[in-house]
Symmetry: C2
């Protein structure tokens, strides 16, 4: 009998799984045994700054260890951390901490099996093919940026072919690029090839030209060969954890690959999906992009992680945590507050419970997860386990697609629902309308409608509005510019006046 | 009992070996069984152009298959091909062909297990650290180039921090960079860290500043974790082949890592080492850099591959093949001509043997290796096997080091011995003396002598002199510039008027 082992290979200290092959096997063999895992979305309060996490990965790991200690077949799916950022010291790794850790954090944090590097090489090769197309008169402009996983402040703006043609170019971090989005959203290598072919490489005489018109696609998919296979690692307590895909949640879609989640759902009863940054970033994107537009499974529950200090210490920002919890409950997702205690905070448990009660939250799950790992959580999970409907074979339905909705209406919808800012306070910076009109024309010339692309909000991870500390009725969202990622089926819209950094400096 | 299996891990379709660990174990356990393999250098005629190989890898694979068919425990050590060049179509892969192939050419040619990508990330991170040092006033200039494995013509000259500081920079191909040389020449991670610390990052007030003065070395060695482990793959006939390190032979040192060769010698009786391009490139570098300066084993035999057409078709270039064969014999290395026949050339065998006899060569080994693989060679290897002294436990001595020899004398020595051009026809281009003086001063300021570095000739792979087609007594070698790679212990000297391309365009 064929099983998952036939699609799994050892790869140094981890295993890699041919998810495309296995999911295809399940599709063509309806009699083959499989599970119908329920998805739990782990998200967080909006962080106070990008480099200070609330502990989502630590929570995710503690949660599956705790569920497994209760006899439930739980797993987690994580994005691959950016090695460049980790190695450069800009951010810690993303493999948990203390008793809630992965077994080989150095491996996970520092390049895994070369997946990110392969995506980097493939996206840069696309730029080289575009360059060649310029030489051959097939393109006048190149719209696709080069990428680097290693951050370098001075690469934000570069000039290539210096001294001769002085072509202005951009370099962005590898996890943010369109090819990474394509890998995250695709369900087969054929789909990747089709999406790469549909990427707009640049323009010729003002009209869009797609990569499919001049690129050997097999060279791109050749490079991606092993990069499309999720890695399987484990927690220090032996719980399985899948790691695949590494897009950032503030400037991209911030979720693991769809196939890694589907693979996990076929193999386990509960699948924790960790989405990046706060609920306004990765969770919004899981719900409104992955589920609503790309057929991913709607969560059966959500856990919103915060630290006591993030939640309560700044009176002007206290509104954010309850806003996130209530928003998710409003979407009919049973939502559990989880407070990740730090050293010396054990005596706050009673007051935290009282605050949660005042806010009409479900009973919060509270623990020092670094110190105690899953043991801190296991006894607190009765209500959480109850809502999941483990083993009932049902999956909650996703809300209807926004495909065809005018982009500006979709932006207002997100601002209203995910950031709490009504349409009349969604304002446009000078140039936004031109940028929108250009994007609309580019899409029309390429033969599709901008309004059929899914919206990716590009913003600072630490804010939802132009000033989150302003009173509720004064908060605004400023729209800045629009960028089309036709291959990924996405349209990126930069919003809020806070800066996003396409290429940080190292620290 | 501890064995090589304890240092070996499956890594997808290949295995990776902790060579540092195993060689260290052998050093500290003199009683542990080991072999004392003999080294055979496979090199070639100078190619007519960089993209047309003579078939060194095909020969190497056919040769070990043939030796193993004769009951001899033979293996080969190859460099990792450059994925960027392969993917871009600038050059075929380097994993043999036809019956003389590796089992997973697509894997070997397209990034292997991410080794090259890790070296790329680490070298680029060094540049980012240098950038930060500039910000902090510790450096005025950065001397270390960025790298990219993907070729891009327009990256030859770039300006970073465009519109603000407009810093001129270079991007070179990853296989050519100093960090790749360090990985090739080092025998432990500590040695890599020491060598990275000794790399000259740039200058401050005109004086050299080393990376050791401001860089967290553990971040660099962290990235290199798995990249320092040789990969073990096999031929379609099941013969073992180690693949590790990927420097180019024309602009770098063109040889596999020293530890991969030492590992192979401890495990097998005959170890074929393939050095890049012609005998004037990789073979010269194996002999004069690896053996003479870095303690690698002197070859017990050499095989010089050519195609019938390369050898004989151009009357003006016919001198090169016999020159290489005779030069190696002159170094007391038994040297076997090997003619790699192409389709339709079988009827030339007699005439090729006659030409070889006229030239007083040893009996040539001749076969269509693509079509017939090792079977074509096995019956022709009696004399070859005889000279190896398999199992006698002896290794030929290397000639004395050139350490301390003035660089200009060392250059003349190479021109005379490896290219056949006497000292009086080694000429200097305007600016060479200044470049040499600057390099001398840089080294003196850094506390060592330029003359203690090993010479790396940087030149076109297709020529040894300014014009190989000129009559013997008119051939010249023009010296262009000098560049110090202090961490690797090397000094690069650009010579001959032919162009080298640091960053090709894609084709």
């Amino acid at each position: 009998m064929t099983g998952i082992e036939d699609y799994t290979r050892q790869y140094g200290l981890v295993r890699k799984i041919d998810a495309y092959g296995y999911l295809d096997y399940l599709k063509t063999h309806p009699e083959a045994p499989r599970k119908h895992g329920k998805i739990v979305l782990v998200t967080a309060d909006t962080p106070l700054k990008a480099s200070r996490g609330e502990g989502k990965t630590t929570t995710t790991i503690a949660l599956i260890d705790a569920l497994r200690a209760r006899g439930i077949d739980a797993t987690a799916v994580l994005r691959q951390p950016s090695m460049g950022i980790t190695a450069a010291g800009s951010k810690g790794g993303a493999s948990g901490g203390g008793k809630a850790s992965l077994t080989h954090p150095e491996l996970i944090d520092w390049g895994l099996c070369g997946e990110m590097a392969a995506i980097e090489a493939a996206q840069n090769l696309l730029v080289s093919f575009a360059e060649k197309a310029v030489d051959e008169g097939k393109l006048d402009t190149v719209l696709v940026p080069r990428v680097s996983e290693v951050p370098s402040r001075s690469l934000r703006k570069i000039t290539v072919d210096a001294g001769k043609n002085n072509v202005a170019e951009r370099v962005v971090l590898t996890p943010t690029c369109e090819l990474m989005q394509i890998v995250v959203l695709s369900r087969s290598m054929d789909e990747i090839a089709e999406r790469v072919a549909a990427m707009i490489a640049g323009t010729k005489d003002g009209k869009p030209v797609k990569f499919g018109e001049f690129t050997d696609l097999w060279r791109i998919t050749g490079i991606l060969g092993d990069a499309v296979k999720p890695a399987l690692t484990e927690t220090v307590n032996g719980s399985p954890v899948y790691v695949h895909g590494g897009p950032f949640a503030n400037v991209s879609i911030g979720i693991p690959t769809l196939v890694s989640v589907e693979l996990a759902c076929a193999l386990h009863d509960v699948v924790i999906v960790e989405a990046g940054y706060g609920a306004d970033a990765g969770a919004q994107k899981w719900l409104d992009i992955a589920c609503r537009e790309y057929g991913a499974q709607w969560p059966s529950a959500a856990v919103v992680v915060t630290r006591a200090t993030t939640w309560r210490d700044d009176p002007a920002l206290q509104w954010r945590y309850p806003f996130h919890v209530q928003r998710l409950e409003g979407l009919n997702i049973p939502t559990f507050p989880l407070i990740n205690l730090w050293s010396g905070e054990d005596d706050q448990i009673d007051s935290l419970r009282a605050t949660a009660k005042d806010l009409k939250f479900r009973d919060p799950i509270i623990g020092n997860l670094f110190r105690d790992g899953g043991e801190a959580l296991a006894p607190q999970l009765d209500a959480f386990v109850d809502v999941l409907g483990i083993g009932d074979g049902k999956a909650p339905a996703s809300p209807a697609s926004h495909k065809g909705m005018p982009l500006i209406d979709d932006i207002r919808w997100v601002a209203g629902n995910a950031y709490g800012v009504p349409a009349e306070r969604v304002v446009k910076r000078d140039g936004f309308d031109e940028s929108l009109a250009e994007a609309e024309q580019l899409c029309a010339d390429a033969g599709f409608s901008l309004n059929d692309l899914a919206l990716v909000a590009v913003k600072s991870p630490a804010t939802m509005t132009d000033n989150d500390s302003a009173p509720a009725d004064e908060r605004t969202v400023t729209l800045k510019k629009v960028e089309v990622h036709a291959g990924a089926g996405l349209v990126q819209v930069n919003l809020t006046t806070s800066l996003t950094t396409p290429m940080p400096k190292i620290v």
